[in-house]
């Protein structure tokens, strides 16, 4: 076991980043065209990095597996992006955003990184507006804000329920400009198959053209991994179907540590599971908790009657409803952080109050009736009608809701065939985001020299739980305002290196290994589909490494996944050829990595003998079911090193977390 060097600069927290920037090495404009950088992934973190590096004058190659960089899953982010602008005059500041993020992460994030994130948050909004991102505005023409969980200010900027789409299209437009100018070469429908290391440094990748199946060697002076999170290890999640861990996992297998893999965010407001053929889950934005109230019936017989279709939620009287978040957490109410809200919903359903008529009865209501009445009355007054009729109030209230959340309500109705303007939404927690990821230092460099990791793919900013509207903030902060500086500091040593050859033994060997793993799948005479194994992995993960974990379950999970892995390699059937478009082959390669990662997640969850954020160990809770952290023994980042071709044998490295500028306390939202 060793200690990790996080390379946090000296000095007061508010000066660290500025001082660090002032002392980093630069690459002169005339030298930048001599340097190649590879960026894997074109979501917010990747597209913003590729565009910015292209603007600076580096030669950039960007890769995405989708048919266009505009499809990356950042596009599906709904609610918004945080920034400490204090436009609403409600006492917000860089310090408060920093504090809320550290507290929200249950004191398991690195202080210096989070402060920097809060510090550059304002620049992101400025940059995006300058790019023509159409954020929501008030009638006076200025930007509008709303609230998100875990905060008591309004600092979230948004574009209806499509903020991720608008930010990603902004970054995509900047990237497109660089592609048009020839400074970024875009490889769409390409998947990174392996990282190539030369003399211990990241010097390129092996990529596969997903249309022709051809393997390609691409060299560079540095490689940026911006490939997103690993929520799809659960099979069912809110991630896109193609979202995968492979790029990050390949880097891990080549020597980069993987940090806090068990920190997974289970988002409270998703549409419940409908059946066994379900392929993914759909999020209903956290922004809805600004207006919606979460409840289940107070009486078990009412819950049962609802499940059996004998009662409708609108027939349950106000006094027979249990608004359990408002009851348990009066200070934050429905806007508690995601991990807290999810566990509270699970607790009610486990007790038999769930309202969904599926196999598990798991579902709670998100009700907009109160908000419709309140906003309807306000709208009527604003129109000069101080004595509005009931019908008018409801009609105006629905109109207000439609303007704020129209696309979400429409999406809900399409999926469930229920009208959420008339009856409360049914929701339940689902896997959404992964706080863990490749370990990086303050410069976003992994434990492999020259391999940088940004956005959700790294672990750095959200601790054990991410606050809403902070993923977009982190992706763009990393790509626009952090990486371009820190990578230049690294590349300054490479101005005399010259082009990296792709005919070296290292490239040769990496390509041969990829080729062999492809052949292995195609020649396997198995009988079951890739999805068959992926679904089974997902069930193990959800039941034993999900919202609540315990020692016995985790130990079982480790063994069950080991057995599943063996069966997978023995019995998986991958149709088709290597030299054509073959989505089943693509999936097989990804699921192989998910299986290994799943094991490591269970190992990590088993070793962390405390509950914090999204990691809830049933053995460690107080009398009211709240998480019990163990700061004496677990106030560290667990960074795992891959060993002996087996995730179970990973070696643990610890990065101690020192809170110099924040007083560490029990997280309290009551």
């Amino acid at each position: 076991m060793s200690t990790l060097n996080s390379r946090i600069p000296e000095g007061p927290i508010s000066e660290k980043w500025t001082n660090h920037k002032n002392h980093m090495k630069l690459v002169a404009p005339n030298n930048r065209p001599k340097i190649d950088v590879i960026v894997v992934g074109t979501g917010l973190a990747g597209a913003s990095a590729a565009a910015s590096l292209g603007e600076m004058g580096y030669n950039v190659k960007a890769f995405c597996f989708q048919d266009s960089p505009r499809r990356a899953h950042s596009i599906a982010a709904q609610g918004g992006i945080n920034a400490a602008k204090n436009y609403q005059n409600d006492g917000d500041s860089i310090y408060r955003l920093f504090y809320d993020t550290i507290k929200g992460g249950d004191y398991r994030a690195r202080e210096a990184n989070v402060y920097r994130l809060a510090e550059v948050s304002g620049n992101i909004i400025d940059q995006c507006v300058a790019q023509g991102v159409p954020f929501a505005r008030e009638y006076g023409g200025l930007l509008d804000n709303r609230s998100f969980g875990g905060t008591q200010v309004q600092r979230t900027f948004y574009a209806a329920g499509q903020t991720g789409q608008q930010l990603l299209l902004g970054a995509y437009s900047a990237l497109s400009r660089q592609i048009g100018l020839g400074r970024v070469k875009m490889y769409h429908r390409h998947e990174m198959m392996d990282l190539v290391k030369v003399d211990g440094k990241a010097r390129g990748i092996i990529a596969r053209n997903l249309v022709t199946g051809e393997l390609e060697r691409h060299s560079a002076h540095a490689v940026v991994i911006a490939s997103g999170g690993y929520g799809n290890v659960y099979f069912l999640s809110t991630n896109a179907m193609g979202s995968n861990v492979s790029a990050a996992w390949k880097v891990h297998k080549k020597g980069a540590h993987f940090a806090n893999p068990c920190f997974v965010q289970i988002h409270p407001t998703c549409i419940p599971v409908h059946g066994t053929n379900q392929s993914k889950l759909t999020l209903m934005s956290e922004s809805l908790r600004n207006s919606g109230r979460i409840w289940v019936p107070k009486k078990k017989e009412d819950a049962e009657a609802i499940r059996e279709g004998r009662l409708k939620p609108t027939q349950i009287a106000e006094e027979d409803r249990d608004y359990f978040l408002e009851r348990r957490y009066p200070a934050f109410g429905n806007l508690v952080p995601r991990d807290v809200a999810s566990r509270a919903a699970k607790e009610r359903c486990d007790e038999g109050f769930g309202i969904e008529a599926n196999d598990t009865n798991e579902g709670v209501y998100l009700d907009f009736a109160t908000e419709i009445r309140n906003k309807g009355r306000q709208s009527a007054f604003a129109q000069g009608d101080h004595n509005p009729t009931e019908e008018k109030i409801i009609a105006l209230g629905k109109k207000w809701i439609e303007e704020k959340y129209g696309n979400l309500f429409q999406m809900y109705q399409k999926i469930t065939d229920d009208n959420p303007y008339e009856t409360p939404m049914k929701i339940y927690p689902a896997v959404h985001y992964t706080m863990g990821g490749v370990w990086v230092d303050y410069n976003l460099q992994s434990s492999i020299e020259g391999c940088f990791v940004t956005g959700e793919a790294n672990f750095s900013d959200h601790g054990a739980n991410r606050l809403g509207a902070s993923a977009l903030m982190q992706g763009l902060a990393d790509g626009y305002f952090v990486l371009p500086y820190t990578i230049s500091d690294y590349l300054a040593n490479d101005i005399r290196t010259g082009k990296i050859a792709t005919d070296s033994p290292e490239f040769e060997q990496a390509e041969a290994e990829v080729q062999a793993s492809i052949e292995r799948f195609l020649q396997n005479k198995g009988t079951k589909s890739v999805d068959h194994f992926h679904k089974r992995l997902g069930l193990i993960m959800w039941n034993k490494v999900g919202m609540a974990r315990n020692e016995a379950g985790l130990k079982e999970a480790i063994e069950e996944i080991a057995a599943l892995r063996e069966e997978f390699y023995k019995d998986v059937f991958v149709p088709g050829d290597a030299n054509e478009m073959n989505p089943e082959l693509d999936k097989a390669m990804r699921v192989a990595d998910f299986i290994e990662l799943g094991q490591l997640m269970a190992v990590d969850a088993l070793h962390r003998l405390e509950s914090c954020g999204g990691h809830f160990r049933e053995e460690y809770q107080d009398s009211e079911g709240e998480t019990l952290r163990d700061d004496d023994n677990f106030k560290y980042v667990a960074a795992w090193e891959y060993q002996d071709g087996d995730a179970k044998k990973a070696a643990l490295h610890k990065e101690a977390l020192n809170y110099e500028f924040i007083k560490i306390a029990a997280r309290n939202y009551k």
Partner: protein, 255 residues
Amino acid sequence: MASKFINITLKIWRQKNTNAKGGIETYSLANVSTDSSFLEMLDQLNEQLINEQKEPVAFDHDCREGICGMCSLYINGRAHGPETGTTTCQLHMRSFTDGDTIYVEPWRSRAFPIVKDLVVDRSAFDRIQQAGGFVSVNTSGRTMDANAIPIPKHDADKAFEAAACIGCGACVATCKNGSAMLFVGAKVSQYALLPQGKVEAQDRVINMVRQMDEEGFGNCTNTGACEVECPKGISLENIARMNREFLSASLTADK
């Protein structure tokens, strides 16, 4: 909503690759839950094909929430199927009935060559964007404050409505001329409506329209099918605005 199970017949376009000759194949699929999405139904078909050791049907899809724009499909002769304002991934099997025969084809347009089965190449859209679909502002921590220029809510809302385009290509696929005017019009409009985009508005519309023509998209004859089939309800107004911008730029630009 009570879920039901239906049995259907599928007639699906199969094509090995861009240069191969394609054709319609027939498949029977039983026990499809009406709560399944259309793509989950195709997953079920592929699972069946794999279990028979046959090659599954290739189709594009990713987010399955109607926002990434990756899914496509001509279903019973309509882009994204029978519902309006809906992407294929948001179409559910409750829109079909037991015993239905469903035709599934790829987008068809000269500018969107077929890659395999139901997968087409829409990179022409990317190249149009690269020709001018941006504001030429570099990354900088020193742009002006986001609230320095107030933008009338009406303009911001209109720009947002145009920017809601997901780039799926239904407009092109459904247009008898294979025109991309709705897609390009939406992008031109988003920027033309915002002060940040006005600086380069003339060059932008000329460059984007030139690229659109080079890619082999057809012209607009005001049929309006694109607006009807657009899953995001992008308005024809955007085409009108682009035409005004283009005309004005052509008459007044320096070059």
